[in-house]
């Protein structure tokens, strides 16, 4: 369990970096980038989406970090977390839902959407919708198997 505790500490450290980066990007986007970008609906939409995404990622990372912090101080919670991560049924369900590949490709598509956004709004929307649809399909399959298995 000591090895796992170190693993959780490393995860917390990486989440802290992610949260700080997301918050810094969010602040930069809200206070500085807004003035540099051309005005209009598409530019506003892109800027708003980027800020929202940064705040969302920061928030999720922070919540996960708090959860891990609680687990690391409580031996029972740490064991529960370990069991949840290594549970054979959950692993099978995740595999059936295509995780973590779907999550990985969705994130890549989201990054691609953000990069392509300033060049073409059509590409941005296409990638965004495809990414969200893929995530929703993965989530639906996971929910289905969570009920069935």
């Amino acid at each position: 369990m000591d090895k796992y505790r170190k693993n959780v500490r490393l995860k917390m450290f990486l989440l802290a970096i992610l949260a700080l980066t997301a918050v810094a990007l969010g602040i930069y986007n809200v206070f500085f980038e807004g003035d540099a970008e051309p005005s209009g609906f598409s530019a506003g939409m892109l800027s708003g989406f980027r800020s929202g995404l940064a705040i969302g990622i920061g928030g999720v990372a922070l919540i996960r970090m708090i959860g891990l912090g609680k687990a690391i101080r409580d031996e029972k919670k740490l064991k529960e977390l370990y069991n949840k991560e290594h549970d054979e049924r959950l692993r099978e369900i995740r595999a059936k839902a295509g995780m973590p590949l779907i999550l990985f490709t969705s994130v890549l598509m989201l990054v691609a959407a953000l990069i392509a956004g300033p060049l073409s709004l059509t590409i941005f929307y296409t990638l965004l919708i495809a990414s969200v649809a893929q995530l929703l399909i993965g989530l639906s399959v996971k929910m289905y198997y969570l009920k069935r298995m």
Binding site: N83, D87, E88, R89, R148, M149
Partner: protein, 67 residues
Amino acid sequence: MNTRIRELRKQHKLSQEELALEVGTTRQTITSIEVGKYTASLVLAYKIAKFFELSIEEVFDFSDISE
């Protein structure tokens, strides 16, 4: 697959959560095994049987498995 896990748990006055913690799984997995929705792997079946100090065949009913 039918199992005696619920019965054995009651005998040992254990909750699903306590058993899950002992055998390294989640409460939901124990529930799924008890109601027959999920068939435990050989490793998990062994851990559960070992915890109750019984053999796998004494905990899990393999009679409905066709040859």
